[in-house]
Amino acid sequence: MNRRARFSHYAFFMLPAVILLALFVVYPSLRTIYLSFFNDEGKLTLESYREVLGSRDTFNPTGFKKGFPLGTILHNLIWIGIHLPLSVMLGLLLATLLRNMPGSSFVKSIIFLGMVMPMIVGGVMIRFMFDKNVGIVNLFLSIFGAEPKTWTAYPESALFSLIFGSIWLWTGFSMVLYSAGLETIPKEYYEAAQIDGAGKIKQFLTITIPLLKPITTVVVTMTLLWELKIFDIVYVATMGGPGGASNVLALQMYSYAFREFDFNKSAVVAVIITLSTLIASVPMIKSSLTQE
């Protein structure tokens, strides 16, 4: 088959995908970048960036003295700081704990349920867990004599409630990926290490963790993307409140665009989220290129 014919067939297979992507993904993304740099009169300006980055919604230094809100950028960073290490490590630990155990597939299914449910339901569940009257968290804390309260309703605890709830939702993801990864490690490696007298913990540190590195790259990247894009949970559980104490970037973008109808400011927030997700996915791009 000559090259021309090849190309026309290639186009036939790709064209519908290309058209839809160009119309609904590529063009809108470029347009959002444009909106972030140009004002309504079509003049190039950094005014929107100045407005958004200087706004207390985004970064609120007085929050360090007065408490929440600290601003959406810091809220997302706090989310990453707590959620990323805990959910990744917990996933690895659970995958190791559950390996080759009777009944483990049932337990895995339970933990994975958080990934199956719509995030809007996940948000309701989190709100429910932390509720004053019906929440299981208060039942647990009352053992230690804590006064029951609706944790999502107070500025100092709203964000943390959402973050810890989201660990409950997301751990299934890292656990399932690590479980699949563990199956790919040959048993002989462990047997050899055992003959050399290496204990379980040493085996874990010198065999399991290094060999799971490609999976860790994927898990960490996907988890970061999820944390940076977090929206549904916050929308339904607290609406970013009280008083912006649990607001996040994605919700800030939505409020600017569809509540205040300020498309330039919302574009700036969208660009900020996109920049951060792109930076977060660099390791995955790198590792997939070397594997190619």
């Binding site: 993904v25 063009y27 719509p118 809007i120 429910f128 190619e292």
Partner: protein, 277 residues
């Protein structure tokens, strides 16, 4: 040996303790949904009185402003075409990717990962304006098209990986017999790809069903709202009717849960395969 046995028991006990912690919120929501309000106000874990009721479910299904019977119907009207269309288009593209050698392959590959990273907020406003220009705002067709476009990159990526596992000599044999690429694709490749397509379909369907943001920006008439959009409406501003909200949450959860239970293997395989090349 004794020590090993004890360690094993500890491991088993830990496993079931973790399972218990993870399932408790689900049990809570379920108990709240099937019991009358006054019984759960002091905690759903009190079982001194226990009366079974389906009132919460019927209230959620026929809710005056956020009926979930209507919401479920609407969600299906969107989710079914928004699964079929991108699967067809992306399976073709994924095949093109896996079979034809073209110079910019690596670049295209990077572009696909970038679209995976792209937040929906990045397209929200222009897409809304685009739908407005086409007269598609507040119409399901618009939402279906966005979902299709949004699903194409990852399904292409996923199917490309799947096709790489099908040996090319099967097609070459057919080509020697004079079959066109078109014929080869629909007669030989497509049926072989069905397991992969099933995995991708399970994931795409549950994602479209579970989506909230894209629906939020493109559909707003009260009677047209999708199931996920109705959940926040069930939450009162000052007073939360937990029985109603729990029942609503369960009703919205049931569909993806069913897909997961039926296609559990494909679902997990799809998720793992999609993330791990």
């Amino acid at each position: 040996m004794m020590k090993r046995k004890i360690l094993r028991y500890i491991r088993i006990a830990t496993m079931w303790l973790v399972a218990l912690i993870w399932i408790l919120p689900f049990v809570g929501v379920f108990m709240t949904a099937i019991r009358p309000m006054e019984e759960i106000l002091d905690g759903w874990w009190n079982f001194e009185k226990f009366n079974l009721t389906f009132e919460n479910f019927s209230k959620a299904l026929t809710h005056p402003t956020a009926s979930l019977a209507q919401g479920t119907k609407n969600s299906l009207i969107v989710a079914i075409p928004a699964t079929v269309i991108p699967l067809l288009i992306a399976t073709m593209a994924g095949y093109g990717f896996s079979r034809y050698k073209f110079p910019s392959k690596k670049l295209t590959f990077i572009l696909i990962i970038i679209t995976l990273a792209l937040p929906q907020q990045m397209i929200a406003v222009p897409v809304f304006q685009l739908l407005n220009a086409f007269g598609l705002v507040d119409r399901y067709l618009g939402l279906i098209l966005i979902h299709s476009a949004w699903g194409i990159p990852w399904i292409t990526f996923f199917m490309r990986n799947f096709f790489s596992t099908i040996p090319a000599n099967i097609e070459e044999a057919a080509r020697i017999d004079g079959a066109s690429d078109f014929l080869v694709f629909f007669r030989i490749i497509f049926p072989l790809a069905l397991p992969g397509i099933a995995s991708a379909a399970a994931l795409q369907f549950t994602w479209v069903w579970s989506d909230f943001f894209l629906a939020l920006i493109s559909v707003y008439s009260p009677e047209k709202l999708l199931a996920t959009q109705r959940i926040p409406l069930m939450r009162g501003v000052y007073h939360v009717d937990w029985g109603l909200l729990a029942a609503g949450a369960i009703l919205v959860l049931v569909v993806p849960l069913t897909v997961y239970v039926i296609l559990q293997k494909q679902y997990v395989k799809g998720m793992v395969g999609w993330s791990l090349k």
